[in-house]
């Protein structure tokens, strides 16, 4: 009778173990032997000591309880979470080879807040610092806890060296030199610096080059200037794409992003024509040089050329012009 196994506990335990191991070997152990479980994109760099310190803090604070770091290959996600802002023209989703140095993976399982996989392409360091300190001051109805306490805590170089050595054991290629230099790189840096550095590194582990430099063609005219329909459209586009940093009324956010309705442009008094605006919107902070103005020191304006069409950007500028004409909108 097959029933005898139910009278022999050790035989039974072994049988149960075998039953459990078959699927474990097939789906967990065997895949480890395959190359498709260990891809690595070319040029992948380990995190810097400061970024690694930030990742440790990200883990410690349980950020993955609310934020994912994995953009699925769905059009709506690629568009929403910054996949269109990375330099690849067709946009991108998360691919396996980007995570080769992630011990463990931090994809998360719940999106109470937005995905952060490509956060480095989305917002500048200054925005994150202000947001971590007091999220509601930057995003009014956010439910994120405040992490102002990170500002007062200095990072420990020796501790980070130990972390780098442990990571080297599991395969992250830190050279002796990298580890030796870590304390100097972390000197005087706070936990806040680390977390910000980590978050803006997301999506940028690989040097994907930069977008083609946007030429500053100041002779261009705004084709939709003053067009009421374009202004209305620009208002909506502004709210969706720009307000998070520049404020709902384009009045700017202290320490994060400048006002767009005063007569200071890239930190120099005196406005510039619409063509200068579209140059900065399309090219991001990289375009500042072409315009010969210094701009906000910590500036991290992302490039919108993959995200918004020229016509949409002109509409936003048309709306901004309307606001500037308003008596409260500038000087």
């Amino acid at each position: 009778m097959a029933g005898t196994i139910y009278r022999k506990p050790m035989t039974f335990a072994v049988a149960a173990l075998v039953a459990v191991l078959v699927g474990s070997v097939a789906t967990m152990a065997y895949p480890m032997l395959r190359a498709d479980m260990h891809p690595k994109v070319e040029g992948l760099k380990p995190l810097s000591p400061l970024e690694l310190a930030g990742r440790d803090i990200y883990q410690r604070e349980g950020c993955m309880g609310c934020h994912t770091q994995m953009v699925r290959p769905l059009r709506s996600e690629v568009v929403r979470y910054g996949g269109m802002r990375s330099p690849e023209p067709a946009g991108r989703y998360s691919i396996a080879g980007e995570f080769a140095y992630d011990h463990p993976f931090l994809w998360g399982s719940k999106r109470t807040g937005p995905d952060l996989a490509f956060e480095g392409w989305l917002k500048p360091a200054a925005w994150h610092a202000a947001h971590f300190k007091n999220p509601q001051a930057v995003v009014p109805r956010s439910n994120m806890p405040a992490y102002a306490f990170l500002e007062g805590r200095l990072l420990d170089g020796a501790e980070m060296q130990a972390h780098m050595r442990a990571l080297r054991v599991v395969g992250v290629p830190y050279a002796d030199e990298d580890i030796a230099k870590a304390p100097a790189a972390l000197l005087g840096k706070t936990e806040m610096d680390g977390l910000v550095a980590y978050v803006i590194s997301l999506g940028k582990a690989v040097d994907r080059g930069t977008r083609a430099v946007v030429e500053a063609r100041l002779d261009l005219q705004n084709p939709v200037a003053g067009n009421a329909a374009a202004v209305a459209k620009g208002k909506t586009l502004y709210a969706d794409n720009c307000a998070a940093c520049h404020g709902d009324a384009a009045e700017g956010t202290p320490e994060v992003a400048p006002s767009l309705v005063d007569d200071v442009f890239l930190e120099v008094k005196g406005d510039m024509p619409d063509a200068a605006y579209i140059t900065v919107v399309k090219g991001g902070s990289d375009a500042k040089k072409a315009l010969g103005r210094p701009g906000f020191k910590e500036g991290g304006m992302p490039a919108f050329s993959g995200q918004l069409s020229d016509e949409e950007i002109w509409s936003i500028i048309a709306w901004l012009r309307e606001r500037k004409a308003h008596p409260t909108g500038g000087k």
């Binding site: 139910y6 009278r7 506990p9 039974f12 149960a16 173990l17 039953a19 459990v20 191991l21 078959v22 699927g23 474990s24 789906t27 967990m28 895949p31 395959r34 260990h38 891809p39 883990q59 410690r60 604070e61 349980g62 309880g65 994995m70 290959p73 769905l74 059009r75 709506s76 996600e77 568009v79 929403r80 691919i95 396996a96 980007e98 995570f99 080769a100 992630d102 011990h103 463990p104 993976f105 931090l106 998360g108 399982s109 719940k110 999106r111 807040g113 937005p114 509601q136 109805r141 439910n143 806890p145 405040a146 102002a148 130990a162 972390h163 442990a166 990571l167 599991v170 969706d240 998070a244």
Partner: protein, 477 residues
């Protein structure tokens, strides 16, 4: 009467410990449910959502769940082996180590020491303590079964043995890490491989903490409480082997549309669909068992706990496979739908069966009746309503949120480009969820009160029985 004594103190110790950690875990759950719609309820650095969420999940999975599994498994093994535990003092040590370990785990998580893999958050020194605890448990369980006085092993013992074996494999593999400090380590696995190992573990933590030991309780305590024998022995055999075989293949359904190789995702989805069969094997067995005499629903207050529990298990094991389908996953993954699903399993299935089993065991220890069947009924209805309100709310807002994230217009532009649009829309639902949590918590407090009063009554009964023995025995001797 038997000529030996069961180790009831240890069983009761585990049950009371589980109840204590359960109350802690549920109260933390209430706090984090408030934090989601009222961020001022975060108190950095220790009491933020990020640090408290693992306290909630670990407190309930390991504190309440594993505590109850230890205690009730000892009870079942002793009864089914017809002998006391082989190593009763080891079980006492295990009880103390368990409580020290859970307390240390809670403190460590609040301090931010975490490996950040779900349900495997605890850092390496605590992992070692948990492995030691599990070895102690395994030695006592397997040893007692080996030295049993009843030849045939009942189905509950199969599930307990499978739990002992599977959890050991899962826990050790997924916690392989290189220490980087006294309370910091890095997973030896990286990237997609790390994700695959974690969800192989994560899904089977559900399988072998929230399913197999709870089925052991179901198969044992349902017949005990109702007096109705299990409907089909053959069905229980088929369901057992196919369940423990198929479960381990399914972890990848947590990684649908992730960078994990597609063949692994598909394999995980296929086995997940298959898993409906063994799960429903137990559901059918449960229904047909009670079907032998449905009047037990009225005449025996515990029957409804088991029937509703197995009903939610049945719903859970259809809903889960549905979620694994790619087309469904792309809508509901990462949304509130998933916590809605999880809480149907934990609040509807696990909590129902565990509390009913405790209601059966505690009076039996003292040979008394439960303190109050009416309070047990109030407890039943409150946890039922609380859980339904919780899960339904999360399913509605999960679909709403998933749809808002996906909605695009005819140009392929997002309709709700600002993430905050979908988030602030969650707040009213999350407020309802907090209310649901309060209802559930009140129900569980009725349960705790009922258990404590029954123990008090039992102790008084024991004292009363013992008291006359002294002088009366002396005079007759």
């Amino acid at each position: 009467m038997n000529d030996y004594r069961y180790d009831h103190r240890t069983v009761q110790g585990f049950i009371l410990s589980a109840i204590f950690w359960g109350v802690v875990g549920i109260l933390v759950g209430l706090l984090i449910s408030v934090q989601l719609w009222y961020p001022a309820a975060n108190f950095p650095p220790y009491l933020t959502y990020g640090r408290l969420r693992p306290v909630h999940t670990n407190g309930l999975a390991f504190g309440l769940g594993v505590g109850a599994i230890f205690g009730l498994s000892f009870w079942m093994v002793m009864r089914l082996a017809k002998r006391p535990l082989l190593f009763p003092r080891l079980a006492r040590v295990q009880l103390w180590l368990f409580n020290v370990g859970i307390a240390a785990a809670a403190v460590a998580l609040l301090a931010g020491y975490t490996q950040s893999n779900e349900y495997a958050e605890l850092e390496w020194p605590l992992d070692i303590a948990i492995v030691v605890l599990w070895v102690m448990f395994a030695v006592n369980i397997l040893g007692t079964i080996l030295k049993r006085r009843e030849e045939q092993m009942y189905v509950s013992l199969w599930y307990i043995v499978a739990t002992v074996v599977a959890v050991a494999v899962l826990y050790i593999v997924n916690n392989l890490a290189i220490p980087a400090g006294p309370m910091k380590s890095y997973h030896v696995f990286a990237g997609v491989n790390s994700a695959n190992v974690q969800w192989w573990y994560g899904h089977n933590a559900v399988g072998f903490v929230f399913t197999t030991p709870i089925l052991a309780m179901f198969y044992y305590f349902l017949p005990k409480a109702t007096g109705l024998p299990i409907y089909s022995h053959r069905l229980s055999i088929v369901a057992f082997w196919s369940l423990v075989f198929a479960y381990l293949w399914t972890g990848a359904h947590h990684l649908v549309y992730s960078p994990l190789p597609d063949w692994l995702q598909t394999l995980g989805i296929v086995f997940t669909l298959f898993l409906i069969a063994p799960s429903w094997g137990s559901v059918v067995n449960g229904y047909y068992t009670v079907g032998q005499d449905w009047s037990k629903m009225r005449s025996n207050y515990l029957t409804k706990f088991f029937v509703l529990g197995i009903t939610f298990y049945g719903l859970q094991t259809v809903q889960g496979p549905t979620q694994a389908l790619r087309v469904v996953s792309q809508l509901i993954h990462f949304t509130d739908w998933v916590p809605g699903h999880v809480h149907m399993g934990t609040m509807g299935w696990v909590a129902m069966i565990v509390t009913a089993s405790v209601y059966y065991v505690i009076p039996k220890i003292y040979g008394v009746q439960i303190h109050s069947e009416r309070i047990a009924n109030v407890h039943f209805w409150l946890v039922l309503v609380g859980q339904l309100l919780f899960s339904l709310t999360m399913w509605i807002t999960g679909v709403r949120q998933g749809w808002m994230w996906k909605a695009t217009d005819q140009d392929g532009k997002l309709v709700y480009q600002n993430f905050m649009d979908s988030l602030v829309g969650n707040y009213p639902f999350w407020q309802v969820r907090t209310v649901a949590g309060v209802v559930f918590t009140v129900g569980m407090l009725f349960f705790v009160y009922n258990v404590l009063m029954t123990i008090r009554k039992g102790r008084a009964f024991e004292a009363g029985r013992a008291a006359p023995v002294g002088p009366a025995a002396a005079s007759t001797a």
